[in-house]
Symmetry: C2
Subunit: 342 residues, 2 copies
Amino acid sequence: MIKIIVDAMGGDNAPAEIVKGAIDALPLRENFMVVLTGDESLIGRELAKYKYDASRVEIVHTSEVITNDDVPTLAVRRKRDSSLVVGLKMLKEREDVGGFVSAGSTGAVLTGGIMFVGRIKGVMRPALCPGIPNVRGTQTLLCDCGANAECKPQYLVQFGIMASAYAKAAYGVENPRVGLVTNGAEEHKGDPLHQEAHQLMKVCPAINFAGNIEGREIMYGDVDVAVTDGFSGNIALKAIEGCGKTVASVLSTEFRRSAGSKLSYLFAKKPINKLKNMLDYSKMGGSVFLGLKKVVVKSHGSSKAKSITPSVLQALDACRGNLIRDIEQRLESMPVSENEGE
Amino acid sequence: MIKIIVDAMGGDNAPAEIVKGAIDALPLRENFMVVLTGDESLIGRELAKYKYDASRVEIVHTSEVITNDDVPTLAVRRKRDSSLVVGLKMLKEREDVGGFVSAGSTGAVLTGGIMFVGRIKGVMRPALCPGIPNVRGTQTLLCDCGANAECKPQYLVQFGIMASAYAKAAYGVENPRVGLVTNGAEEHKGDPLHQEAHQLMKVCPAINFAGNIEGREIMYGDVDVAVTDGFSGNIALKAIEGCGKTVASVLSTEFRRSAGSKLSYLFAKKPINKLKNMLDYSKMGGSVFLGLKKVVVKSHGSSKAKSITPSVLQALDACRGNLIRDIEQRLESMPVSENEGE
């Protein structure tokens, strides 16, 4: 039976919400189990609150926790008995483990993932890849959204390849359309990094390239994958997040303010909740950390149970969709040498 | 009487909407007039449709038009009798003219502005600076949002200085708070460009520096000015624009879909319109092109009259707020040499 490890101690709401989110995933898919890494007694106390199939849950005791106050590169080296490091090592070593989920320090997950799980052969830089809701009701993958603040053109090509593989594994998209996010649709737009990336992507057989797209198109759903450098991708992701929160806040205020407000809110509740739901990142799972030899999902630091559950399913679906093998195969057709980006 | 030139031939809806927008601005402020550059007979035909104070409108006939199909750098050199070039030259030469508004080709406005109006002494790169609506109901200035895809650290410092001057001239903000948009709040975040800009901004006496901010904070209103390089700033601006459009579209769809839809929309109309209004860039005027010797406002290419009117007022308010003199004075206190950025 395939196993998904969940870092029970990572994130602002650990372990209570993490444990609940993990076991809530069990009834939603068959033939898999979760492995919780962390303080055995704390995890046990949380588990005791719920009814669940105990044969599908394993606990691996660890004595340390990596927090956001730790320096990631030091923490993953020194806290060898942390829920994060133990989880990542198990992920690497055990054949029956397919994926790993953590809501812990992003830096530590990235550093630890590269150090303990390792990159797929040929991958220059692993990248974070969340799904952004779009106007069509599906998700657009944004890659990289923050793992690499500094990029080379070849990295961006690989982000497009890896995210294409993920679009297929996770959503079943056969020939994902890939756009390059720049400051204008025309081919010559952008800085030299993006101009060069554009030329490489155009001739890359592993990418169904749709050309440059602008920031507004990320949410229009015309492409399945939006490729960005980790710097501007992070800004785009958070700008959209901030806009969503602003909209929700303005709607609440305005409904309280307007005449006949309570009545009107009663009538408008359903459509507005639908909108809030659509913009609610917490329900969408986490960002897949693409390019490692096993599936790693980084859930938001403030994740509650309802965000952990989809992250677990995300990791499971990516394993079952043969994400890793697909990335390997697609990379073989990439027309740049392995060492160019190093 | 102060004069604002309006490029009557620039934009998708020229000249009809541009002419209407320009004369609609007249009753809203005293002691100013508009100068319309463009085809005299076309402008006359539009003006004939409305009642307005003819003593406050001047027409300057031009025979050429620069379109989006023109290559900007060539067009501003060759089409010397275009509404854009004639307008910019008048702006430069005539003392009684304080500002210029165009909804024409962005590239041509930027190139022409630098070529014919010229940079303020010490300005390395002029920058586009639109106002973004925020959750507090005010606007956050985003600078640069697209004039400079490639930047040096000193440019970013100047963007902060120039936008601070504009926050004071346009909104009366006495000591504008300036944030640097990066991929994380911590001081060390970002690529070398933003890391170095952070250090320069921290010690710049002409900036009230609030440190790094993330993309989501652009709409939270805690800073008055959000400094970005033109590449990521453009992506952030458009990501927010796309999110706003997506929200409006989802709300419309959901209200049509939900049971008792028409009734519920009747009740919810007011708050939702308030939201749409807030997110409606067209009503906010254009982007000021900061760093030139006179005030230039670039209005959106798809501007209708309701976007041209606020752009005209924006140009007028910036003149009356002594924007140019204020930028000159603030730049004098900048601790980098004029030539470093060249």
